[in-house]
Amino acid sequence: MAGFDTKQIWKVFFILLAITVLEFLIALTPALEGLRTDYKLAVNLTYVVLTLFKAFYIIAYFMHLKFEKINLVYSIALPPVFVIYCIVLVLYEGGYWNGIRKENVTSNQKIEQVENHAPEHH
């Protein structure tokens, strides 16, 4: 049956292993420390892309979806695509809360400063 020979299975295993090793190298190589702090967003996006590659290989080959009828492929693979929109919305909202919290911290510090210095001005 298509996609189910032992050679192919081990090939996919080594691809998954290689991607995981690559992720560990990015996360742990001391020489990349500067990269990890200065380009945090880019590094995190790299992790996400590598994760999606792993997800593709698991679903397509191990779960055999690549070799199913096209209508089964679409009914399983399309609904999660709409999740992307939800992710964008929810993370954007999280960022907005973050802004509010930062503002609160700064305004609290200002209030403290005013309270601390108030007696001196009287």
């Binding site: 189910f4 009828k69 209508n71 809360w97």
Partner: protein
Amino acid sequence: MSTHSVAANEGKIWDGGNEPFGASYGKLMMWFFLLSDAFTFTALLLGYGALRFSALNWADPDVVFQSAPGIESGAPLVFVGIMTFILIMSSVTMVLAVEAGHRNSKSEVVKWMIWTVIGGAMFLGCQAWEWTHLFSEGASITKNPFAPELVPYIEKFVAQGMSHHEATLKAVNEIPHNYEFTSLFFTITGFHGFHVLSGVVINIIITINAMAGTYQRRGHYEMIEKVGLYWHFVDLVWVFVFTFFYLV
């Protein structure tokens, strides 16, 4: 493979006899269950993402996960690397069992299924160790010893003559702090671990069935394939949990 039910219903395509998706009822329902389960995990990870984006500070995974059995600290991500390898490996043995099932080779199916069960049990053992270690550090679903706002209190208690461990436990028990990180960590890895546990139990059941020759008499090993789908899904979820809790 799954053509066995079609032949009997030929000519009655509106009576539920045909398979428009080229997959049996059971396999199709497993796929749709997994789709819904994927949305459950999506919801959990979305909640995690929103809270983490909104937080002013967050625990550093290289600090939280730097222990392994026999190594108290200084080995970031080593243990979770082993766990990830074990789970990918057990996914491979599962797909090898499915492949053997297509060749109707009972002995090979049983062999690979036993390896899959062992892999799942090893993963659960690793997770039990990891959780126990985090508990010993004072972490729980409502306590987060890695919260940055506890650091000045821990330093104060250490200055009063406590060991770092005692000071952390005292701070985490007495000082109000943000425990979103540990709360989400134990909920999400716990929910995933529960899936692994269910998977191991189901794997044991089908291994026993395969040994008893149930699928040999049935003429096909489709049950291995359906349970295999579930097992790969558990591996798939781990790929995401690993990225978002240990790497990012």
